[in-house]
């Protein structure tokens, strides 16, 4: 199968990089932006509307949304191209005056995004018309969109470059240190804190518990750890962390200590922290 759409020669001739840069240099007026929704989920469009609110105000940089592609300098496209919106997209592209600058907004516009292998999806914007500016994000933050438009104008510089790392020395990011001389304890603690509070807060919880344990002289001493955790709970401002610290101590730590030195039910009950 050949290409879906070949750009006519006269458009190709008028849209070289030199001509675009010359256009940027000699333009002495506002940039007119025309927006095409080529089959997006509306997330990116909502963010574009967020950009044109007074909070971000792109008009101070010289961007103005217009209602017709005949007036436009920049074509802002959102969404992965669906079968039905492909032709209107190409019509809008051809209707623009030369030189045309095209921006693809969002993950779908850049490459097809999460819908890249769906049946009704004909790929990103760049598989149909040439794209100059890629703005990734799902949806992109208003700041990202504004930065992209400013980048197209040359106000700011591009930050990202293609990066390839190829100096593998086989070093590993793990040294095998453990509080109770067995990393399975850390694993159990981490799994339990993740299941209690999710991965973001669970990591904080895990860190809090481990740091408290590291200050102990003998981490195997249940009475010392129980005192430390009680102190930590009393200091904790967030009641969710306080409760989860208590649960962690009563389940994971006490089970480990019990398996290391058999304490029995009564011995265990001494060091269990009771809730409020």
């Amino acid at each position: 199968m050949g290409p879906l759409y070949t750009i006519p020669e006269d458009i190709q001739r008028e849209n070289t990089l030199e001509k675009k840069l010359a256009h940027l240099d000699k333009i002495k007026r506002t940039f007119f932006v025309y927006r095409v929704d080529a089959g997006s989920c509306n997330g990116c469009d909502i963010e574009i509307f967020a950009v044109i609110t007074p909070l971000w105000d792109p008009e101070r940089l010289g961007f103005k949304l217009v209602a017709s592609p005949r007036h436009a300098d920049i074509l802002v496209c959102t969404g992965s191209v669906t079968r039905d919106m492909r032709y209107p997209l190409i019509r809008a592209y051809e209707a623009m005056p030369d030189p045309k600058i095209v921006a693809a907004i969002g993950a779908c516009g850049c490459s097809g995004g999460i819908f890249h292998d769906a049946y009704g999806n004909w790929g990103g914007i760049d598989s149909h018309i040439p794209v100059d500016l890629f703005v990734p994000g799902c949806p992109p933050h208003p700041a990202t969109i504004l930065q992209g438009l400013a980048l197209a104008l040359g106000i700011v510089d591009q930050k990202l470059k293609k990066t390839v790392y190829d100096n593998d020395e086989g070093k590993i990011p793990f040294d095998g240190t453990s509080i109770l001389n067995n990393t399975l304890f850390e694993r159990d603690l981490y799994v339990e804190s993740k299941s209690l509070m999710g991965y973001i807060h669970g990591r904080v919880l895990f860190k809090k518990y481990c740091e408290a344990m590291k200050t102990a002289k003998r981490p195997e001493d249940a009475s010392e750890i129980a005192e430390l955790i009680k102190h930590l709970i009393a200091q904790e401002e967030d009641p969710r962390y306080a409760e989860c610290l208590r649960v962690l101590h009563n389940t994971v730590y006490m089970n480990w200590i019990d398996s290391m030195m058999v304490m029995g039910e009564e011995g265990k009950n001494q060091y269990i922290i009771k809730g409020a």
Binding site: L55, G113, L146, K162, I172, P173, F174
Partner: protein
């Protein structure tokens, strides 16, 4: 005129964005940052990625596994951050990531050396992954007496390991006369 009076009373709300960086809140899911030195090439992020923005491919000629992230396709869900065992990939607060003309500028590639199987001489895992597994097992109270026997098992690819296990089982069955 009423609007002007109102505007004078209120402060200016517009962000001075491209000049002054915009501060995002805590928990903002920005660009997933890749730290090459932490990556072991286990591939759990590749499995977790819902939009296939991550890929891990074997390059037999060069003997490396090529881990690649394509921010064009990333939907910033944070699943890779959730599953990464070493936090080699973690969500940052970076939102400035637009590029001009070349899509490839939005990719990051990490090449990890591959390791050959002792039996069949086929690449089967990365060197870092192998070292990491060994270190994890040692620190989890592994029996160091029979270390040589166990290392043989660790340096064999899954296919060979399967064949070996079947052969052992068949031999045992023959002995029992099944």
């Amino acid at each position: 005129m009423k609007i002007l009076e109102f505007a004078r009373k209120e402060k200016m709300v517009t962000n001075n964005f491209p000049v002054v960086p915009y501060e995002v809140t805590d928990g903002f899911r920005g660009k997933p940052e890749y730290t090459y030195d932490l990556c072991i090439g286990c591939g759990s992020c590749v499995v977790a990625c819902p939009s296939n923005a991550l890929s891990l491919k074997k390059d037999e000629e060069k003997g490396v596994a090529r881990w690649k992230v394509d921010y064009n396709r990333c939907i910033f869900c944070g699943r890779c951050d959730e599953v990464c065992p070493t936090r080699a990939i973690s969500m940052s607060k970076e939102y400035v990531m637009c590029v001009l003309f070349d899509k490839e500028d939005l990719t990051v590639t990490g090449e990890l050396k591959l390791k050959r199987c002792d039996t069949c001489d086929v690449y089967f895992t990365t060197e870092r992954m192998s070292n990491y597994t060994y270190q994890k097992l040692v620190s989890a109270g592994w029996d160091m007496a029979s270390i040589d026997e166990k290392m043989k098992h660790l340096n064999t690819c899954p296919d060979c390991r399967q064949e070996k296990a079947v052969a052992v089982n068949v031999n045992q069955m023959k002995k029992r006369g099944v």
